[in-house]
């Protein structure tokens, strides 16, 4: 590129610099106060919304988890809510299910989009069409897509789409959501179909930033396609891979609408109960908002602990 003569005026917006480059109008304290007030006036609307609907609920959730409200009277109860939530027989099942879903979703929903992106990136034709296809399910309202899976794909009789396909291929059919062992894989499959589009597009953008010379050099050194993926593609997209893995784990740990719609909540023999569904159950059906808040705090602590560990792990690799 030959466009190196652009003045550095547009510079990097990193460090705080004065509101406007204060040319001839350098004013005194009064002007500074006024500029700041103007700045805050522009901010105030969004800040109030963050304060009321994000920052305050964060604190309130922790406070609530140590209180109990009965008949309009709120008292401090220490760790009672936590004890009650952990004693719930569904508590450990819900964590097991959620972790199982997270791991399965990682295997399927993380590796598949990466290879799909690598594949799509090689094509010189039909690029736009393939991208639209992959992203289309992301735009469907999840409730709509899940009813499709529930009624037509996962129909446990042979009239269901998946069973019909399995039967035509002479494979054993499945009862899908009605068999406890298939509940989670079936939910992961639906969830991956609905959500993988965004991951594929993000990977594709990352792949396009890899300099072609690297592949060139690897090929000259005699590296085959697989070794080029391992030694060029993966290291070059490592940051995005790490970031998306974390985002995906945080998202899948909040598994909620899939069990609610596909499995009517708990599923056969509690096989679908997730932690998020348990929060919903306690808060809005058993009238135990304090217990639900406590479970929310537990979830936050687990996720925060996981993220911290993960960050340390990835930082060490650098």
């Amino acid at each position: 590129m030959a466009i190196t003569t652009v003045p550095a005026a547009t510079g990097k917006p990193g460090r705080p610099r004065p509101p406007y480059p204060s040319g001839p109008r350098r004013g005194g304290l009064g002007r500074k106060v006024r500029d700041n007030l103007t700045g805050h006036a522009f901010l105030i609307g969004a800040v109030v919304c963050f304060a009321v609907f994000s920052w305050y609920p964060m604190v309130r959730g922790v406070v609530m988890s140590f209180q109990r409200t009965r008949r309009g009277e709120t008292t401090w109860v220490g760790w009672d809510n936590y004890a009650r939530i952990i004693a719930d027989p569904s508590f450990w099942t819900a964590w097991q299910n959620t972790l199982y879903f997270t791991v399965l979703a990682l295997v399927l929903g993380y590796a598949v989009p990466f290879f799909v992106a690598i594949l799509l990136n090689e094509f010189r034709h039909a690029r736009g069409y393939l991208r639209i296809l992959v992203y289309l399910p992301v735009m469907l309202p999840p409730a709509s897509a899940l009813y499709l899976f529930k009624f037509y794909a996962y129909d446990p009789s042979d009239a269901g789409l998946f069973n019909a396909i399995l039967k035509a291929a002479h494979l054993p059919t499945s009862e899908w959501m009605q068999s406890p062992g298939m509940t989670m894989p079936a939910m992961v499959l639906a969830s991956t179909w609905m959500n993988m589009g965004s991951a594929v597009l993000i990977y594709l953008a990352a792949l396009q930033n890899i300099p072609g010379e690297l592949y060139e050099a690897a090929e000259l050194d005699g590296a085959g396609v697989w070794r080029r993926i391992v030694h060029v593609t993966v290291p070059q997209t490592r940051l995005i891979l790490a970031l998306l893995a974390m985002l995906q784990i945080v998202a899948t740990m909040q598994l909620f609408i899939e069990p609610l719609i596909l499995a009517n909540g708990a599923g056969t023999g509690d096989s679908a109960t997730s932690v998020a569904y348990l929060i919903y159950q306690h808060g809005f059906f058993q009238n135990d908002l304090n217990g639900a808040a406590a479970l929310g705090v537990i979830m936050l602590v687990v996720l925060a602990g996981f993220s911290a560990g993960y960050l340390r792990l990835t930082a060490k690799q650098d």
Binding site: S54, L120, M253
Partner: protein, 295 residues
């Protein structure tokens, strides 16, 4: 940047355009195009045609590929029994309001953080970005408690559209997207406006916003689809049948309604977002990747 047809990827262009590479390339392309069409459009086809089948035809083994005796009546039933017109109107109303609130308040905030830079601006930005780390499910209970009894004002926002509009403003991702875009507007332009005596509001309106149309479009589309796809929050804060969104309405009716009618309703509910996507797919895809990549 020009399209990347020139840059080399995993396998070199030359290798793909002659000899056996060429055959493999075209064969693979055909397989992928056919396979992807089947995997991603197939279910949608199944959904649209399945909703046209009669109750008996759905229960039939093996399932039929084309509805033998199409029943458009299912779509009519879905429309009238579920009161879809009302549900769609509600969702549209919430989506429009969400776009307006986000555009006004988030744009103003991002402009202030990017160009006006008041004291503590970076602290506020940090606190906003920190909310991205907090999973939505963790906040759902305290948020609900806040909405039924707003601090200081002691208002109950249940069944009020503000219960959807105001929390949507607290969207750190959009503020981040907008701020990044505003950061790229040259400082010279801003100081020129200042020398001409323009107030910050005037500068925002006449200089910054006209330059920012693409990003404003992306933010608006994201707001519409977020409202359209959201489920649990509208389910909690819009408990009355008259104020429900379309997804929640279908869920509420699903138990006592024949399944082909539920699917017909699901098809109708999905049409708006699919149409938005097909019209704006370029903006949506570019917005998605700029937001996540350059951060």
């Amino acid at each position: 940047m020009a399209q990347d047809s020139g840059t080399r990827t995993l396998i070199s262009h030359a290798q793909l355009s002659r000899g056996p590479g060429r055959v493999v390339y075209w064969a693979l392309l055909a397989v992928v195009v056919a396979g992807f069409t089947l995997v991603f459009i197939g279910p949608l086809y199944w959904m649209v045609t399945g909703a046209l089948k009669s109750g008996q035809e759905i229960a039939q083994t093996p399932p039929t590929l084309f509805p033998r005796d199409p029943q458009p009546q299912n779509y009519v039933d879905a429309w009238t029994n579920l009161n879809l017109a009302k549900l769609l109107f509600n969702t549209f109303y919430y989506a429009t309001g969400a776009v307006l609130f986000q555009l006004v308040l988030d744009t103003a905030a991002a402009y202030s953080l990017s160009k006006l830079r008041p004291v503590f601006g970076n602290v506020i930005l940090g606190l906003m970005l920190a909310t991205l780390m907090i999973p939505a499910m963790v906040l759902i209970v305290p948020q609900y408690v806040t909405v039924i009894d707003l601090p200081i004002l002691h208002l109950n926002l249940l069944d009020s559209p503000f219960a959807i509009w105001l929390p949507m403003v607290a969207n750190a991702f959009n503020i981040f997207l907008l701020k990044r875009f505003f950061d790229s507007i040259p400082a010279d332009l801003m100081s020129a406006a200042l020398v001409d005596g323009a107030t910050p509001l005037r500068t925002l309106w006449s200089i910054v916003l006209p330059m920012s149309r693409p990003i404003l479009g992306v933010v608006s589309i994201f707001a519409v689809t977020a409202v359209w796809k959201d489920f649990l929050w509208p389910k909690l804060v819009m408990p009355s049948p008259e104020t429900r969104t379309v997804s929640v309405g279908i869920y509420a009716f699903a138990g006592g309604t024949p399944m082909n009618v539920v699917i017909a309703a699901s098809v109708i509910a999905a049409i708006p977002t699919v149409v938005i996507f097909l019209i704006f797919q370029r903006n949506i895809m570019s917005g998605l990747t700029t937001g996540s990549l350059k951060g």
